[in-house]
């Protein structure tokens, strides 16, 4: 009975059948610029923000937090303006997530001061007694490894030069260790003494969170 007694032909035919939908809905959009538009108003992540993003990835934050605000009335009320495709042009991988055990984070940047995040990451239950978020205070006890930052930025094609990358790192270090840093007191409380003048993983992940949804405000203002 034809193909049902020819395994190789059958396998080739199966491959063709599964590839039709794949080509139309996945491969073709890859080559359409409209799938992932790029805007000059949305800047790539700096070295510190990228390192923070990699810590977010390592700790699996995307398992509980989404990063897409949907165009629904109550969602915009809760989180802010809905997500635009341009915002994700530099996201490799994307971190939209699939479950909101915690709130969406696509508009978290600038919503709270750094000190709020230091305190919250250190002890979510200290801030919200009944929260089920795991505590991440130990991130402040880990010195941030920026050894691969340049390599990462180069692979991702963010367009920063070697000088810009080291400048971004030293600038951010200067910012969070400066005596007049507005979240200095809280940072010192959560950071072990030996690391107070260094960059920690906690500093980086907070830098990343503060970046989320920041640039898109320029885009929305321009539209």
């Amino acid at each position: 009975m034809g193909i049902y007694s020819k395994p190789v032909v059958f396998a080739v035919l199966s491959a063709v059948v599964i590839l039709i939908g794949t080509i139309v809905t996945v491969f073709v959009p890859l080559f359409m610029p409209s799938t992932q538009p790029v805007s000059p108003l949305i800047k790539p992540y700096t070295a510190i923000e990228l390192e923070g993003r990699d810590i977010y990835i390592r700790e699996g934050c995307h398992n509980c937090h989404t990063q897409t605000v949907r165009p629904l009335r109550t969602e915009v009320l809760r989180y802010g303006e809905y997500s635009k495709p341009e915002e994700f042009a530099y996201d490799r991988p994307f971190l939209w997530g699939s479950r909101r055990t915690g709130p969406d984070l696509n508009r978290i940047g600038g919503k709270y001061p750094d000190s709020w995040h230091y305190r919250h990451m250190q002890s979510p239950q200290g801030m919200f007694e009944k929260s089920n978020m795991p505590p991440y205070g130990w991130l402040a006890a880990n010195r941030l490894d920026t050894g691969n930052s340049l390599k990462k930025i180069t692979i991702l094609g963010y367009g920063y030069s070697e000088g810009e990358v080291s400048q971004q790192i030293s600038d951010y270090k200067a910012k969070v260790t400066a005596p007049d840093y507005d979240s200095r007191e809280t940072r010192d409380q959560v950071t072990p003494e030996a690391l107070r003048n260094e960059l920690t993983e906690m500093d980086a992940i907070i830098a990343y969170l503060q970046k989320l949804g920041r640039d898109v405000k320029n885009l929305e203002a321009a539209q």
Binding site: Y4, A11, I18, R58, P93, P134
Partner: protein, 461 residues
């Protein structure tokens, strides 16, 4: 080797590997279920929810699911072709490397080496390993098919072929990445494209691991266990082609109302609805096979696993397309409803069918009678009750959370803050944990029953 020369050692090896990873995966599942209402179990970085959740999904999807598929498909392949495995030694290497890979995978995920791609979290060196393992498997599948004595390929073999081909395409395309170090890589796709590729993979990996090969088991073991031919062979032909064609279009229903282009979402909705037809083709085929012989539900302990299993598959394949509709998706997406949906498929359909398949297969490859049919019945009722309480709890919790997210005061402001919606779920999370314990006891009985079956006397393997 048995008198016929069938290679059974690898079948038994994979079957018990599946049971081992099943128990591990469920322990991790119970651990994270507890963390959901009491964060005290986030004792160390590697026990924190974010890292542990992927150990649970990978441990059960790859460890239990794949091992169960390899065990049953190596068995089905030899029986339906009436031919011993083409390369039995290669299959044993596949078995050992598979278990090493799963152990390394668990270890790497505990350490936080994750690409974040759901059901494809493993970093690139392990991806390379998975591809090599898959090639080893495919060599045996096609090698045995080419040598086969029985000319005609029965339904189950089509599903095994389709899975072998499709998983290879899905896994390779989705995991293309540029390595930074041995433990870190970046996807070659960005933003919306990355999301589209990942959910094309994510949806279809569920389809081609938790549906296609499980249907292969269902179409083989149900007739074998009952002695009744499948109701309609031609219906299964239509179902097969329609299923594997339509599946690949539907990934974007996981990305409803995101910045992904709207047309991709709409096409996904249309094909999701169409998928009800081939899915129910298999459901109808299962039910009608028992036409006139429904007394087997009582007299044959295996039949209720198959019938309840295919019933959950039927419910699953109606629920899925329904919650993919834009309006309903706006309500249910991101809530525990979806978690309940997934677990009806895994705890109901997949686990029921693999349980029955193992109960049928293990006595036949060892020559021993099943240790206890009574225990098998206890196992059935415990996993049925555990799964139903588990999933229904999550559906109710999901509806409540969705409603709380949408609730507004008369002045238009939000009625609840986010934390209200989280804490209101804690009672459901406690009940879910309890249901998980019931389910876990059922699984322990299953494992015990099979261990006692093979230990009855020295086995000629």
């Amino acid at each position: 080797m048995s008198e016929t020369g069938y290679a059974y050692r690898v079948v038994r090896g994979f079957a018990f590997s599946a049971l081992f990873w099943l128990v591990i995966g469920l322990v991790v599942g119970l651990w994270i279920a507890f963390e959901m209402f009491n964060p005290a179990l986030n004792l160390t970085p590697w026990l924190s929810f974010g890292r542990l959740r992927v150990v649970h999904t990978n441990g059960l999807g790859l460890g239990f699911g794949l091992a169960g598929i390899f065990a049953t498909s190596y068995y089905i392949l030899q029986r339906l072709t009436r031919t011993p495995l083409a390369f039995p030694k290669l299959a044993l290497v596949h078995l050992y490397l598979f278990n090493a890979a799963i152990a390394l995978a668990a270890l790497s995920l505990f350490m936080g080496m994750s690409t974040t791609r759901e059901y494809a979290e493993l970093e690139w060196p392990l991806d390379v390993g998975v591809v090599i393992l898959w090639v080893m498997y495919a060599v045996n599948v096609f090698g045995t098919l080419l040598k086969r004595q029985e000319k005609q390929m029965y339904i189950s073999l089509w599903y095994i072929i389709a899975m072998t081909v499709t998983i290879a395409v899905l896994y390779i395309v989705n995991n293309l990445a540029v390595p930074v170090t041995l433990f870190k890589s970046y996807s070659i796709y960005a933003g919306a494209n990355d999301a589209n590729v990942e959910w094309w993979y994510g949806h279809n990996i569920v389809g081609f691991i938790f549906t296609v090969p499980v249907l292969a088991m269902f179409y083989y073991f149900l007739p074998k266990a009952t002695g009744l031919p499948i109701y309609s062979h031609r219906l299964s032909i239509i179902s097969f082609w329609a299923l594997i064609f339509a599946y690949l279009w539907t990934g974007a229903h996981h990305l409803m109302l995101t910045p992904l282009p709207e047309w991709i979402q709409t096409v996904a909705i249309a094909f999701s609805i169409f998928l009800i037809a081939p899915s129910w083709g298999s459901v109808v085929n299962g039910y009608y096979t028992l036409q006139g012989n429904w007394e087997q539900m009582r007299s044959n302990y295996l039949v209720k696993f198959f019938i309840l299993g295919i019933t959950f598959y039927g419910l699953q394949t109606i629920q899925g397309p329904t919650q993919g509709l834009r309006t309903l998706n706006a309500f249910f997406h991101y809530t525990d409803w979806v978690v309940g949906h997934v677990h009806m498929g895994t705890m109901g359909w997949v686990a029921m069918i693999i349980s029955a398949s193992f109960y049928y297969m293990i006595p036949r490859i060892t020559g021993n009678e099943l240790h206890s049919i009574k225990l098998a019945n206890t196992h059935f009722w415990l996993i049925l009750a555990g799964q139903l309480i588990w999933t229904i709890t999550m559906w109710i919790g999901g509806i409540q959370q969705g409603a709380m997210w949408k609730a507004t005061n008369p002045d238009g402001s939000l009625m609840y803050n986010f934390l209200d919606s989280v804490t209101s779920l804690y009672p459901y999370y406690r009940l879910r944990f309890a249901a998980g314990i019931v389910y876990f006891i059922g699984i322990l009985i299953f494992v015990y029953n099979l261990v006692m079956t093979v230990r009855k006397r020295p086995v000629e393997a």
